[in-house]
Symmetry: D2
Subunit: 282 residues, 4 copies
């Protein structure tokens, strides 16, 4: 018997930074969390404890800070491309660099009806994400949204599903549909206008979620993905993952009351997960 080392990676995760841009009369801030992973020729480190090809994960962290000092980090995708180019240039032992970036969203505080020039509030758990995988041959660029929690109280039903002896769920014409949206999409160009595209895709996903006459979470998920692929030429593929939180009607009949769609119990567990990837074909 011998042992083979299959896929192996290493890197630094959750490297956080806040970058402040100071113009006269106006500051801008961006807060990121980044992870870097290397693939490459690391067999000797594993099998022999020979570290000569191992650039420390700590250096990845330093490099993030150094490049964030020298370059704009906006849009995320371009900052990711800088990082990949840097690491591939100076590390011949590395065959692929993966960059995952997640941006926390800050909004400006109001100030006499206008946005304040230097005071901010954190806006929710939603993150703007980017995921890049680069080799010396090519780089895949994905952008995304994570942890965006949405809910609709109309235009959602679930009927005509398969039933078996353990099925107790009833057909429902008037559901609360609540999900946490995680989406990532693949760009077909390396020099797209990533900032504007992200906002446009996000807007389209939210409008579709809101307006779709949903027969099921699958049905809504597919429609959201389809519309993005149809409307953006430079997006070739989209992956959607929906975590459906359950809002069950509280049963008030033991208390002698009806409950016509009024009081619901929000619950975090269990939840339903639906995932799919949609791809353009020619």
């Amino acid at each position: 018997m011998s042992i083979q080392l299959l896929e192996n990676t290493y890197g630094e995760s959750h490297v956080r930074l806040l970058r402040v841009s100071r113009q006269e009369g106006r500051h801008d801030i961006r807060e990121l969390s980044l992870a870097i992973r290397f693939e490459g020729g690391f067999e000797a480190a594993h099998t022999l404890g020979d570290n000569r090809k191992i650039l420390p994960a700590d250096t990845m962290k330093n490099t993030i800070y150094a490049l964030a000092r020298q370059h704009s980090i906006e849009p995320l995708e371009n900052f990711g491309l800088h990082l990949i180019e840097h690491f591939l240039t100076y590390n011949l032992q590395v065959s692929r660099v993966v960059v995952e970036a997640s941006e926390s969203i800050w909004g400006r505080l109001p100030h006499g009806g206008k946005p304040h020039p230097s005071a901010f509030a954190r806006v929710g758990d939603e993150k703007r994400t980017a995921h890049l995988r680069g080799t010396r041959a090519r780089t895949e660029i994905r952008a995304g949204i994570s942890d965006l929690e949405v809910l609709k109280t109309a235009r959602s039903q679930f009927r005509g599903f398969k039933k078996d002896p353990y099925t107790t769920l009833q057909d429902e014409r008037d559901l609360i549909l609540s999900t946490i949206i995680n989406a990532t999409w693949l760009y077909t160009e390396e020099d797209a206008e990533f900032g504007g595209l992200w906002h446009a895709v996000r807007q389209m996903l939210l409008e579709t979620f809101a307006e779709h006459q949903s027969q099921s979470p699958q049905h809504t998920l597919y429609t959201m993905g389809e519309i993005v692929l149809q409307n953006f030429e430079n997006i070739g593929e989209i992956h959607l993952s929906i975590s459906g939180r359950h809002f069950n009607l509280v049963d008030l009949s033991p208390l002698g009351m009806d409950n016509p769609g009024t009081v619901f119990l929000p619950s975090d567990e269990p939840y339903t997960v639906i995932e799919a990837t949609l791809k353009k074909t020619t």
Copy 2:
């Protein structure tokens, strides 16, 4: 030796509900988490295992759902008053009822430039809170804000502080001031216009945070509290707690770079806590 049972309470916590109000063409939703606690004559339950004066905590949960079915839960403070009145009326063994309520904030999704009538997105970790303590003689009503994270990149310094041999912090004229605000204030009336007041206090706290020429977190905290007491006749006391998160400048000198207020390291631990209560006197 004998043993005395001092303060003792019991109750149900984290009772969650979503309430949907359905008007033609427009739905409204509110999501709450509530806790109820009873104080009263519960010695026999503790010392003898005699439960005759113990209303189950489970019944507190049922009562929350029953009253949420029958009454509006908006504003929080009035729903809390309903709960206290109900429990004190039907439970002579109870001397004080405490209600803590926390509302998660949902905003409407956009729809053709206008707010959508029935689709929503969760807005951050910020919560609107209410805290009521009622006896048969009187009820204290407090409203509040929790988990509101704000940050300013200007108008904040910390200088002239006491130094000892273990002090390494330098005087700073240009700090990032970042805090999670938790505020509660005491109303001097039981029938104030709680909904509008909450929004007005919140707005005043945020504007003061943004504009204040801060010499220290204490200085800003006090000013925030002072302005609220000066501007609202029916608020008699305010408690503020500020968790100051550290954003330290990343030291890039080992990498041969300066860092003129550009790249900061956000950190969750340790953090600074400042708390104070301000009260009107006549």
Copy 3:
């Protein structure tokens, strides 16, 4: 109208450290998280932005590290006393110092049937805690346990309780009693043998929880506190807080099955909280 500054404090929280003691052939580790708070004459900082009496919270952090370098941090209570003495000696503007310490528990990995001399695994969420409040006149020393989750499947019932129209809970002779225990107790001496006492109190609390014929969580909580007060001369007061998690029998009747105390649904929300303080009187 004028404004009065009531209680106010500031300090540094979640200052973490790992201390390694290296003897020949054996290492010991302890991991702590500490918080320091000062009370004193800080009015000018609040009202005028005058920081001359403000020792930076950052210096509190440095002081913790300096004293952890110079002194043993075991037991927690003695390390807390060192910190209080240091801060009161060098800070005349401070009238009270509060130290909260929380120790994460690490156990040794097994090594050929014996404990390993230098390899460890984290043991659960349970923390050993200490809470000290010191003035120049005296210091209150409390020790405690937090986040210790226990469960019993026998010797627990809840019957004969008060019922009202919203009560749906039935009398139960055979409950699962599951709680997260938080306990703190007050020592009546400043030089007790804190290390051994903590282990003895913990053991007594757990044995009482396990063996008590529980009529209610209140009944068990009181008995746990009573036994500690009866058995330890130098403990004058104990506070217990119990978060009762619900384990509800899954209703399998819609699936045509019974469920005789077999399959339960663990739930985190809602939960029942019971709190009480017991005190020795003479």
Copy 4:
């Protein structure tokens, strides 16, 4: 342009249960969290909103409870096989069923020097996991460990690594190596003695971690995997993921003190991730 639906799945996650086995004089408990996912012919649900092939995720939850009532859930792997067989039998539209199971570990409270027959305490965050992927042709069975946090203060160095201009890390002969271990291994038999094997693999991983003369986390990871593959005939592959937490020596030189491996700062972020899969070849 047309759109292709690639991989898609749905299912129910975080279905929790506690199962109590009651023998005379002794109770046993096991707490699980399960997730089920289906792959199969769900195109019509996505593209047309036709739910006829969609068994509700809610029914997956009911089925877990029904089978947990009828069968032992120990070992996890056998319970997973029951679930897969059930779903494949009754759902011809399903081509693959994935079961992920995670067991929380409870230990018995002490009782007069012996384990208590019916009282328990939760033991840490560590989970025993199983991951099964079954089609009508075959089932892959993986077992694992997650969230096991370990630390060693000896036998760990990191030297001779690659340095670049942004590298500030120094060669270290005496490191604290601290990691959260996540491991999964693939069985080559469907009827192995899963319970005993899990304990034996866990023991071997921990002993290897403790005793290995580590040149790097990669080196230790590989050695841990290699030893498992060498010692267990019916394990064909192992995946290890190590999240290295940083314990940095606190720099006390600004306070005029040395720090010879005594006081460290535990930090949760950033952290280093190392992953690899090792496979037997013939």
